[in-house]
Symmetry: C2
Subunit: 264 residues, 2 copies
DNA sequence: AAGTGGTCTAGACCACTAC
DNA sequence: TAGTGGTCTAGACCACTTC
């Protein structure tokens, strides 16, 4: 008596789902980019380790070439959405853990304890200054005498309490377009991202722990001898040119933060 | 009287340098990879913002196709060695600042103050345990009752002084091949990198500052009420599966560390 | 008008995996 | 043996920059 049950037939063929989409060859939007977004949408209804259709199937399905398919898929692999095993296939990666308050670019990606507090960032002072030796070294400025940097002091609040003290230095005249008005509407990294030549591509960050000094204790309304986490960021452009140096001091007792590190 | 000096002729044509190299089409080493290494070598004798020869010149020079040239160059752009401007060309980026003691993978990438001390990492204890709720959550373990994790306690020394206290948890049985012997010869990330399925692709890191508790004060021989930096790492594979959870406590008074963050 | 990088096609051969 | 991703070729058209 034949009782083999065709379990494989019950499994949904994932490749069918993609037939609800198509690419438009008459827009300026690149084909690989359209196709990439199609995969991203479909990932929402996928499970980790689900197999994607092989490259050739995608080629036929959308009428695009294998290179175009590969460009989209390889970018998604780089971004952690998919993984590939040679001779086996392309598979869905587990979703990333996302922390709510992470903001890798901004330099003030702190997680404020207690969910009911409203974070706010306020510009306290902005002025052009001559860089001291430390700033000049960090920003790789050679002509210290004539060079100027834009100095920005900001406070990070949670409700009315000051949680952090942020001192930034931006290379001038490259970053002169940064104004207080712009900083009040969007984060510094976004303002810098408005120009290709000032877009931040990489950050080097140093972290140290120290005791707060008396003025910081007073400013942040902390207990005497309170902890301060000192975080120094240097932001680099695509040219690997440092244009942004930032020193962040935040209350060690109330603040922690999360970083995502991608390895190659 | 004609006194225009042809300054442009004095500039060395960089493309000539590349003619000292060639690729070998009869090795199993991919052409794009050979070509990439040729560029990397040539970068040593280049200045930031120097222009590279255009893609087509490379094609003719090495007898390889444009896609192969592009694959090499685009990887170098991703790695921060080059930058490209559309319609203008490919240029040398400024060299990255490299800190000596950075070790992104290892989780104990600390910079020990005072250069004359010898760092050492020692395994104190290794055993299989049942994960508690926190560990299970971090490693996305569902079946808490039957699951096991490999618990590893290590101390980081500078000379004879303990600088950090490192507690790691590895998913079992995937990571059972990690032995004390292997940990004594190379860093944990390298041991995990020996298998494709346990290779770490991404790390999520949380940093907090706190006071040392009495046993830590004693262990690390610190002043009472000493600062401890608490650093929690979760390591993910290409599948985005968390397999490595590590809690690092290090002396806030003696240790700082540096992180490199790449943005997309 | 010439040069450059961005996108895209239609093929090809290979090594490795699974059956 | 068939299927898969990895590598590679030889073209093509485009938008944008520079002259």
């Amino acid at each position: 008596m034949l009782i083999i049950i065709m379990i494989r037939c019950i499994r949904r063929d994932k490749s069918l789902n993609y037939q609800n989409y198509q690419v438009n060859k008459n827009t300026p939007v690149p084909l690989y980019y359209q196709f990439k977004n199609i995969i991203l949408k479909e990932l929402n209804s996928s499970q980790p380790d689900d197999a994607l259709p092989p490259e050739e199937v995608f080629c036929n399905m959308f009428g695009i070439s294998r290179s175009t398919v590969r460009q989209a898929i390889l970018e998604l692999v780089n971004e952690g959405y998919l993984y590939r095993i040679k001779s086996k296939g392309t598979f869905v990666a587990r979703p990333k853990i996302k922390s709510d308050l992470i903001d890798l670019y901004s330099g003030y990606n702190i997680e404020i304890q207690g969910l009911n507090m409203t974070p706010a960032l306020k510009v306290i002072n902005m002025e052009f200054i001559s860089p001291d030796r430390n700033i000049a070294q960090k920003l790789q400025i050679e002509n210290t005498e004539t060079a100027r940097v834009l100095s920005i002091l900001r406070y990070q609040y949670a409700d009315t309490q000051i949680m952090a003290h942020i001192q930034s230095y931006l290379k001038s005249p490259l970053c002169d377009f940064v104004t207080e008005e712009k900083l009040n509407t969007c984060p510094l990294y976004q303002v810098l991202g408005q120009n290709d030549s000032t877009k931040i591509k990489r950050i080097e960050r140093t972290i140290e722990t120290c005791y707060a000094n008396p003025s910081e204790v007073k400013l942040m309304n902390m207990d005497k001898g309170g902890l301060v986490n000192l975080c120094a960021n240097i932001g680099f452009t695509a040219k690997n040119e440092p244009i942004w140096y930032e020193i962040l001091k935040y209350r060690g007792d109330k603040v922690k933060y999360t970083i995502e590190i991608n390895l190659d």
